[in-house]
C-alpha cells in the first residue's frame, strides 16, 4: 500500500509537471548567484562532516572551514604553525608533546574548547573502549597510531605521550583527521554527528540537503578574523562536463578540479584560473624483485626512455610538472633542489638495456581506469607504452577499475606484473617513502612497497628522519634519501600534479594552498 501511494503521488506530480512545463516553456531563468554567498562546485557528495571519519579531499575541503586543529599549515607552504594551540614543547627524546591551548575559544554550540575537549577527540578516535568510539569507524586513525595517551594537564595544557619518537606528529595534527570537534555535540548527536557537525572555525554548519548542497554560514563569534562571506554553499556535481557547464552558465562561483581539456573555456576576463603545485607524485612502480627491472640499469633506462615532458604538456595540458624524485617539490623545506629529472634520452636507454641484456623483454603493465590522484591514467599509460616500445620493450597493458587495481597492486607485483601506475597525495615528506620505499614496508609486512625495493641506507635515513625532532636535521636526511632513491630508480618518476580551480570575476582574495585544502575564510564575493 505504501509503495502504491508513492507511485501514485509521483505520477501525479510528474503529470502536473508535464502539463505546466508544456504551457510555460519559454521561461526566463539564468538565475544569478546571490551576492555575499559563495557557491562552490565540488566533485562529490561528502560522506560525513566528522573529520575523524572521512578520507576524501573532497570532504576535507568543507571541513577545514568549519573546524580547526591544534596546528595548521602556514599559508602557501606545508610547514606547520600554531592554530588552536598557541605553542608547544617537545621533550628530549621526542616522545612527549605538550601543547598550550588558545584561551577563550568557543565551539559553535557555545561549549568551551579546552584540554578536556582535545583529550575527548583523541580518545574517541583511538581508544576502542571510549563511550563514543562507536561514532566511527575512523579509517585514518593510524595517523595518530603513535599516541599512547592524551592527558589534560590543566584547562589550557594538553600532553600527548607517544610510544616512540614520531616526527610527522605535528603535521598530522594539521591534517584534517586532526581537526577538533565539539565533545558535547558528539554526545548529543552520537552516530549522526557527521550530519550535525560542530567545530570552532570561521564558518559554522547551517544545513545539509542530501545530494544538493552543504551550507555553512559565517561564525560571528570567531576568535580570529571574521569570514569574508555571509555563507558558502558546497554543491556536489560529480560529472566534470556538467561542472564546467555550470561554471560557464554562472550557476556556481568557483569550481575545483577542472579537467585539463576544459581549461581553455575559462580564458578571458570573466574567469580566473588558480593553479598550485601540491604534495602529489605520479609514478610507475617497477618490480625490482624479478624480471628485467631487477636490474638497476633497466630501471634507469625506463626513466630515460619515457618522455615526461610530452606527458605533462600534451596529455595533461600543462596541469602537472615533471617529477624529479620521490618527494614532491611542494615539501619545500625537505625537497632536494639539486635533483634534476631524468632527461628524455632514448639513446641512453637503449644502451643501458643492451648492457643489461634486456633487449626485447616483454613487460606486463598494470594501468587503472581512474582513481584518486591518478589524473588521466589510460592516455598516460598508452603514451608510456609507446615510449617503452620505442626502445625495444614489448609492453602489454592490463587495465583495471580503481578498487580492483588497488586490490591487485597493493599486495605486490610479484608473479603478476613488471610495472604499475600509482599516485600519492600526502601531508608529510615521511609518509610516502616510509610506507612505500623501505625494505620493511614490503606488502607482506603490511606496507605499500609493491615493487620490493630495498636499500639499507634508505631504511636508515627514513628511520632517523622519523625520530629526529629538529626540522633542519630531518630535511637533511630526506634530501639524502631522495638522491639515493633517484639513482636507484625503484620507480619511474613521472609527474607532480598542480591542483587548479576556476573562480568567476565576482570572487576576490582566493588562493589555493599546497596542502590541496580549500580555505575560504578570506574570500569575498560581490
Amino acid at each position: 500500500m505504501n509503495l502504491l501511494s508513492w507511485t501514485r503521488r509521483g505520477l501525479m506530480v510528474a503529470a502536473a509537471g508535464a502539463v505546466v512545463a508544456a504551457a510555460a516553456l519559454p521561461i526566463t531563468a539564468a538565475a544569478q548567484t546571490p551576492p555575499d554567498v559563495l557557491i562552490v562546485g565540488q566533485i562529490a557528495e561528502p560522506k560525513s562532516l566528522d573529520p575523524a571519519a572521512v578520507t576524501a579531499v573532497n570532504d576535507f575541503r568543507i571541513l577545514v572551514n568549519v573546524y580547526e586543529g591544534l596546528t595548521r599549515y602556514k599559508s602557501g607552504t606545508l610547514e606547520v604553525e600554531p592554530s588552536l594551540a598557541t605553542g608547544w614543547s617537545i621533550n628530549e627524546d621526542g616522545t612527549e608533546y605538550t601543547f598550550t591551548l588558545r584561551d577563550g575559544v568557543m565551539f559553535h554550540d557555545g561549549t568551551p574548547f579546552n584540554a578536556e575537549a582535545v583529550k575527548f577527540n583523541f580518545d574517541r578516535m583511538l581508544d576502542e573502549k571510549h563511550p563514543y568510539h562507536d561514532t566511527g569507524p575512523f579509517p585514518l586513525s593510524f595517523f595518530f597510531g603513535a599516541v599512547q595517551s592524551t592527558e589534560a594537564v590543566d584547562a589550557t595544557t594538553v600532553k600527548f605521550t607517544l610510544n616512540a619518537p614520531y616526527a610527522p606528529f605535528l603535521s598530522n595534527l594539521a591534517y584534517p583527521t586532526g581537526l577538533i570537534v565539539s565533545p558535547e555535540a558528539v554526545k548529543a548527536s552520537g552516530k549522526e554527528f557527521g550530519r550535525n557537525p560542530v567545530g570552532s572555525g570561521p564558518f559554522k554548519f547551517a544545513e545539509w540537503r542530501s545530494n544538493e548542497a552543504v551550507v555553512v554560514e559565517r561564525n560571528d563569534d570567531y576568535w580570529g578574523e571574521a569570514a569574508g562571506t555571509k555563507a558558502v554553499v558546497f554543491r556536489p556535481i560529480t560529472d566534470a562536463n556538467t561542472r564546467v557547464a555550470e561554471m560557464l552558465a554562472g550557476g556556481i562561483d568557483m569550481m575545483v578540479e577542472v579537467p585539463p581539456t576544459s581549461l581553455g573555456e575559462f580564458e578571458g576576463d570573466r574567469f580566473s584560473v588558480a593553479e598550485q603545485a601540491g604534495p602529489h607524485v605520479w609514478f610507475l612502480i617497477l618490480n625490482a624483485k624479478e624480471g628485467p627491472f631487477a636490474d638497476k640499469r633497466v630501471r634507469q633506462a625506463a626513466n630515460y626512455a619515457i618522455n615526461k615532458e610530452a606527458i605533462v604538456n600534451n596529455v595533461l595540458e600543462g596541469t602537472a610538472s615533471v617529477a624529479a624524485g620521490p618527494t614532491p617539490p611542494a615539501f619545500a623545506w625537505a625537497y632536494n633542489d639539486a635533483l634534476e629529472p631524468y632527461p628524455y634520452d632514448p639513446g641512453k636507454a637503449k644502451s643501458l638495456i643492451k648492457e643489461a641484456g634486456a633487449d626485447g623483454a616483454t613487460l606486463t603493465f598494470y594501468v587503472t581506469e581512474g582513481g584518486s590522484g591518478m589524473l588521466d591514467p589510460v592516455p598516460m599509460g598508452t603514451a608510456i607504452q609507446a615510449d617503452l616500445e620505442a626502445v625495444g620493450f614489448d609492453v602489454k597493458i592490463e587495465t583495471y577499475e580503481w578498487n580492483t587495481f588497488l586490490g591487485e597492486v597493493n599486495p605486490g607485483l610479484e608473479g603478476k606484473a613488471d610495472m604499475a601506475e600509482m599516485a600519492w597525495m600526502t601531508n608529510d615528506p615521511d609518509t610516502l617513502p616510509y610506507l612505500a620505499l623501505r625494505s620493511k614496508a614490503w606488502p607482506a609486512d603490511g606496507g605499500f612497497n609493491s615493487g620490493y625495493y630495498a636499500n639499507e641506507k634508505v631504511d636508515k635515513l627514513l628511520e632517523a628522519a622519523r625520530t629526529a625532532t629538529d626540522q633542519e636535521e630531518r630535511a637533511r636526511l630526506y634530501r639524502e634519501m631522495q638522491s639515493i632513491v633517484q639513482e636507484d630508480a625503484p620507480w619511474v618518476f613521472v609527474a607532480n600534479w598542480k591542483q587548479n580551480a576556476v573562480t568567476s570575476d565576482r570572487v576576490k582574495n582566493f588562493g589555493l594552498e599546497p596542502s590541496f585544502l580549500l580555505h575560504l575564510q578570506k574570500v569575498v564575493k560581490n
Binding site: 508535464a18 510555460a24 531563468a29 538565475a31 579509517p139 542530501s210 560529480t238 591487485e408
Partner: protein, 315 residues
C-alpha cells in the same frame, strides 16, 4: 481480476528473492571491497582488516546474506558506508526524485509518441507523416546523454533560459515552478528515444487497424473521420501499444541513469553508480531490490490495464 492480481503478486515473490541473491552475489564477488574503497592509497592489509571488522564484513557470505535478508524483511535496509545514513532514507529520497523525472518523461513520451503515431497514420505518406517519421528517426538515433549535453550547451550555457543541472535552485528555490524549470531539459532528453519507439509502433498499429472491415463500415455509416480515428481505431490499436508502454517505462527508468548523471539529478540511478564505485554494498543492494520491486509492480499494473482494455485477454 482481483484473483489475477493476487496470483501475479505471489509469483513476484520468487522473482524478488532471486534478485536479492543475484545482487548480493554480484556485489560480494566483484573485486575490491568497501574498506579498500574507503582507505584508497592507505589500504594496507592491516587497515583493511580492521575497517572490514568495524563495518561488520568479517562474517561469511552466507551469514551476511541471511542477516541482510532478515533485516530487510523487518524493514531495516542497513546503513550506507559511503553516505553514513540509513539506506532506506537515501533510497526513498532518491527514488522520489527519479519518479518525478521518469514519470514526467514517461507521460511525455506516451502522449507525444501516441499523438505523433496517430497523426502519421491518419494520412499515410502525407507531409505530416514524412516530417514525423524523420524527427522520430533522429529521436531514436541520438543517444540520450549526448542529446542532454547538447541541450545544456544550447539552452543553459548559450541562451541561459534554463538551469544547467540539479533539481532545485541551490539558494532560495524549492517551489513547483523552480522544479519545473529544472525538469524540462532532463525530462525531454530522457523521453526522446521512447517517444520515437512509441510513435513508430502507434503508427503501424493504427495503420493495421484502419485497414479492418469495421473501420470501413464505420466510415460507410458516415461516422466523422475524427471519431473513426480517435474512437474506433485508437482503442483497438492501444491493445498492442500498451504492453510496449510497459517495456518503455523500464527503458525510461534505466535510461534515467545517464540522464541523472548528465543533469546531476539526485535520483536513484546516480546514487547506484556512485555506490557501486564506492563498493557501498548495502546501498547498492537495497537500491536495486527497491527499484526491482517497483518495476515488478508496475508491470503487473500494465498487464491489468491491458486486460481492462481488451476483454479477450482472460484474467
Amino acid at each position: 481480476m482481483g484473483g489475477y492480481i493476487l496470483k501475479r503478486l505471489v509469483s513476484a515473490v520468487p522473482v524478488l528473492l532471486g534478485i536479492t541473491i543475484i545482487v548480493f552475489l554480484i556485489m560480494s564477488l566483484i573485486p575490491g571491497d568497501p574498506a579498500t574503497a574507503i582507505l584508497g592509497s592507505y589500504a594496507t592489509p592491516e587497515n583493511v582488516e580492521k575497517l572490514n571488522r568495524d563495518l561488520g564484513l568479517d562474517k561469511s557470505m552466507v551469514q551476511r546474506y541471511f542477516i541482510w535478508l532478515g533485516n530487510m524483511l523487518t524493514g531495516d535496509f542497513g546503513r550506507s558506508f559511503s553516505l553514513n545514513r540509513p539506506v532506506i532514507d537515501e533510497v526513498l529520497e532518491r527514488f522520489n526524485a527519479t519518479l518525478i523525472l521518469a514519470g514526467t518523461s514517461f507521460v511525455l513520451c506516451a502522449i507525444l509518441g501516441i499523438l505523433a503515431g496517430v497523426a502519421s497514420a491518419a494520412r499515410q505518406y502525407g507531409l505530416a507523416d514524412k516530417a514525423i517519421t524523420f524527427v522520430v528517426l533522429i529521436g531514436i538515433s541520438v543517444p540520450s546523454f549526448f542529446l542532454g549535453m547538447m541541450m545544456i550547451l544550447l539552452f543553459a550555457v548559450d541562451l541561459r533560459w534554463l538551469p544547467v543541472s540539479g533539481m532545485f535552485a541551490i539558494y532560495g528555490g524549492g517551489d513547483l515552478p523552480d522544479l519545473i524549470n529544472h525538469l524540462i531539459m532532463p525530462a525531454l532528453a530522457l523521453a526522446a528515444v521512447a517517444t520515437g519507439v512509441i510513435a513508430r509502433l502507434s503508427r503501424s498499429a493504427m495503420l493495421e487497424v484502419l485497414r479492418q472491415d469495421y473501420i470501413r463500415t464505420a466510415r460507410a455509416k458516415g461516422v466523422p473521420e475524427r471519431r473513426v480515428i480517435m474512437g474506433h481505431a485508437l482503442r483497438a490499436a492501444m491493445v498492442s501499444v500498451i504492453p510496449v508502454l510497459g517495456i518503455q517505462a523500464g527503458f525510461v527508468l534505466s535510461g534515467a541513469v545517464y540522464i541523472e548523471i548528465v543533469f546531476q539529478w539526485p535520483g536513484v540511478g546516480r546514487m547506484l553508480v556512485d555506490a557501486i564505485l564506492k563498493r557501498d554494498l548495502l546501498l547498492v543492494q537495497g537500491g536495486v531490490v527497491f527499484v526491482a520491486a517497483c518495476y515488478v509492480i508496475f508491470n503487473i499494473v500494465v498487464d491489468a490495464a491491458q486486460s481492462l482494455l481488451d476483454p479477450r485477454i482472460k484474467t
